[in-house]
Structure formats: structure tokens, C-alpha cells
Symmetry: C2
Subunit: 307 residues, 2 copies
Amino acid sequence: MSILVVGSVAFDTIATPSGRVTDILGGAATYFSLAASYFTEVRVVAVVGDDFTAENEAVFTKRGIDTRGIERTKGKSFRWGGRYLDNLNEAKTDFTELNVFEKFQPRIPKEYADTQFLFLANIHPSLQLAVRQEMNKVSLTGGDTMNFWIQGTPDELKQTLKSVDVLLINDTETKMLAAEKNLLRAANKVIALGPKALVVKHGEYGATIFFRENAFGVGSHPFRAPALPIDEVKDPTGAGDSFAGGFLGYIASQGEINREVLKRALFYGGVMGSFAVERFGTERLQQLSREEIDARFEIFRELTHLD
Amino acid sequence: MSILVVGSVAFDTIATPSGRVTDILGGAATYFSLAASYFTEVRVVAVVGDDFTAENEAVFTKRGIDTRGIERTKGKSFRWGGRYLDNLNEAKTDFTELNVFEKFQPRIPKEYADTQFLFLANIHPSLQLAVRQEMNKVSLTGGDTMNFWIQGTPDELKQTLKSVDVLLINDTETKMLAAEKNLLRAANKVIALGPKALVVKHGEYGATIFFRENAFGVGSHPFRAPALPIDEVKDPTGAGDSFAGGFLGYIASQGEINREVLKRALFYGGVMGSFAVERFGTERLQQLSREEIDARFEIFRELTHLD
């Protein structure tokens, strides 16, 4: 099975307690596609400037990722600068230069039309909706969003959420979107907006998936996957997109979509997030093997498994 | 097997988004002993004033808890007032009246001398140490502490930690005690101070147990138990002590102490904490059945269980 991700490819300048890097390859679509590439065929739709080099592209193609949907335009690529201080769960933005990303109009190559899975990374909800409507034959659509759209374009976002099957956001975003401080009640309110399932990412405490009643299985019991305690988080950037890549990549690799598949996918999401933060940028995600991934999946499983 | 808890019996005045209560029975030893009473024989050492009624005592005795170690003195019992605002994980203290608790000198009845398990609830570390030295034949000692002692009496606390087998504290306390912001590194530093295992409570995200290398089993892999998403936390007071009561009560009920027992105990801790917060004060903990507890244990197990 194949999965299409639509989102940003960017150059990031990052400072963490472990060090600093300048203009390294990043962006939600980059992290997502690298993480998903260990599970399934991945296709990307994004826009970059003339600063995107052959070497940058090779990061994708070496992992077998289809880059025909990465559009080149004149100008500079999206650039973001930020730092993590004491709280590694929260970035302080130093600068955001949208550059060519400001006028991003996702164009889906006709070769991508048969893609079965779709991930709408964190872009304007109206662009997400346009892509979703064009890709109206997919088996499953995952989506992301952020406080900027929740507060700035709530109507457009709610329109988009009606056609997203699984939304992946964090605790703060869930509570903000639902205008509700209790997580369980907030999750139920978000699910009432459209998604069949909601994945809430808790950073170092793992993630919970909440289900609409009888979606993908019986009942609506939530399920939790842990995160592994790590002795050094070098760079948290991209952890959420790597989580989404592991989660949806694993789902796309399976013959069917049911609760058991989604539960294991939640663990694989955590696994890919845990690899991502071990090095700056996408370094660790470029050099994994499926054996390493499955070995860590077993460690995650053992972490909460009672005999 | 039996377990002795030494700590506070108090009257609490609590405000949460769900309501307010005045002068209800509380205190660490109360929550702990009620939670543990569903698993094993419980004995209490505490001090109360002449405001402690027969009705208050019946809360203990109805659950079969041995109250011969609850000393009566002239004056008022310990009283605490606090409120929980948006963040249910953190209480804002309105007042603390130590009253008879100020001069608490734990006196252990001679009938308690054969107790096999010990829990040192959150009191001055020097009092904890004195009790520990007197109860020098116990199989396992659990302990609690708080920021007040970590910052105020660090030397006494470190002395006490040398003879505590399992310390149960939260994330903030762990990082403060270790002077280290990364949880895994902080946990290892705390274990180096003496405990064979450290249980870090994450509030709504569950708890993690970290082991000293080869303590209670092979290796030092941590283990995590989830917490159940709850749609209304009425009153978080006593959740941590109820957790400790479920955790140590379950251990005391088993014939041996090994990793599998400690893992299941971590789940039982979460179970008892989840019951405690459903009602104000100890109301819910007074009226449980072992069947309800085991049914919720199964829900917790399913919450993270992969087939």
C-alpha cells in the first residue's frame, strides 16, 4: 500500500541543551515520510525553493520516497528557527520565514491518484480540505493541525475535520480545540467534530487513541501506548511528525484496518518518535533498519506488558 | 501479611471545580490504609486530637484496619485547606494547621512489632528513619517525601533514603531530589541514594517504576503503568497515597517480591488512585469491593495490552 503526505519541507535552525544546528533539512513532510518509509511506499507533495539541493533530495530518494510531488519554485524554502530551553516539550520560535511556502498550492501528480492512504500535515485547513476532496478514494485520511489554525481559522478547520478519519494532535491542542480542560471530555468533543479516532500525543508520556463508538471495532474504550524514558533528548523537532509517520505507515502496511492494527500502530508511532529525538534533525531517521525498529517495538511492548 | 503505615490523619477543607467540602477526614495514613485494606491487614500509627470522633475511627475499623497505633492527645487534629484550580495535578494550599501533628513522635504498639511491610508516609525524614530503625525486621519498606523536605532537610532525607526499599514520589519531586531535569537520569541518581526501586507518579499519565540493576530481578529496565482517562476528577486529594496503598497492599498480599509482582502492583496503585479521585475525600475508598478493584485492574491492563 502507498501513502501520500502533503506538508512542509523546510530548513531548520535549532538550539537545544545538547547543541545547535543551522539550516538543516526538516519540515513535517520530511519527518513523516522518512518515518513512514520503513513500513510502506511513500509519496510527497510539498514546495521548495532553489536552495533545495540534490543532496537534500537524496535524503528522500535513498529511502525510496517518491519526490515527484515536490515542486520547485524560485526563491527560498520555508525556514524556521527555534530553541528548546528547560522544557523539551515546548519550542520557542526565533523566526519563521514562510518564503515559497507562503503561496503553497498543493499539486498532486497524476501518478499519485491511486494512493490508498493520505496524511494531511500541519498546513492551512482549507488546503488540507482541497487535497482531501481531490483524493476522495483513499481508504484512510490522517491529519494534523496546531493552535495557530485552531484559533485563527476555526470554521475552515471544522470543515476539514469532517473528512479526516484520524486526527493526531497533542494534549494542549485537543483541549483548545474542544474548549474543555478534561482530556476525556475534550477527546469526545473532538470526535463529535468528525474524526472516527483521535490520537492525543502526550510527549514523554506516550499517546492515547480515542475512538468514536464502534469505529474500527466494538465500543469506544481508549487505548494508551507508553513512551520510553530516554536519557538524552537531543532535538525534539519532528517527533510528532515522526510519530504520525510510524503510526500511518504501519497502518498502510497492513491488509486491514481494525482496532488491533491501530493499537500496534500507536506503539510504532511512539517507536519512530523515540528514534527521531536521539539525533538532531532527521539524522537518525535516515539510518534505521526495520530490525532496529521492531526490536524497539518489543521494548515498548515489554514496558507495559503484564504476563 | 500485614503492613504498617506511619503518617498523618487529618481534616481537610477542599475546593475543586466539582465542589467544596469542609473538615472531612483525610491525611496520608488514612488514604493509604483504606486503599491497602482491600489487599492485606493494615496497621496505623498516627496522632489525632480530641476532635477525632468515634465515627471517624469507624471509617478505619469498618475496613478491618488496626487503629491501636492512633494516639489521642489534647488539642485539634492536623488540618489542611487547599484548592485545585485549572490544573488538577497541583493543589494551592489555603492553610496548614499542624496542631497535634506538630509534635508527632510515632509510637509503635508492641503488638505491631511483627509487621512485615512498612510504609513511611510523608513526614519529617528523621521521624521516618526512627520508625525504620525500630521496625528493622520488615521485608520491604516503602516511603514518600515532598519538596518541603527535599529542600528543607536534604541531609536527613538522604540518611533515611538509605533504608527505604521503594520510594514513591512524583516527577517534580524526582527531578528536584536529583537536581536533574531528565527523568531517566534523575531516577538513576535517586536510586544511587539508596532505594532499590523508585516509583515516579505522573498524575493522569500513570506511573513508572525504575529499578536498581538486578534488584528484584534481572537488569534495570523500567516499567510503566497507565492511568485511565477519567471524565471527572472530583477531588485529586489523596490520589498519591491511595496509589501507594494499592501498590504496597498488593505486594504485601503476595507470597514473594519479584519484578512481576511489582509490575502488577504498579497497576493496582493506578487502580486505587483512579477510585480515590472519583469522589471527595475517602468516600469512594470506603465502599469498594475487591471485585470492583479487579474489574478495573483488567480495564487498566487492556488499556495498554497488545495481543
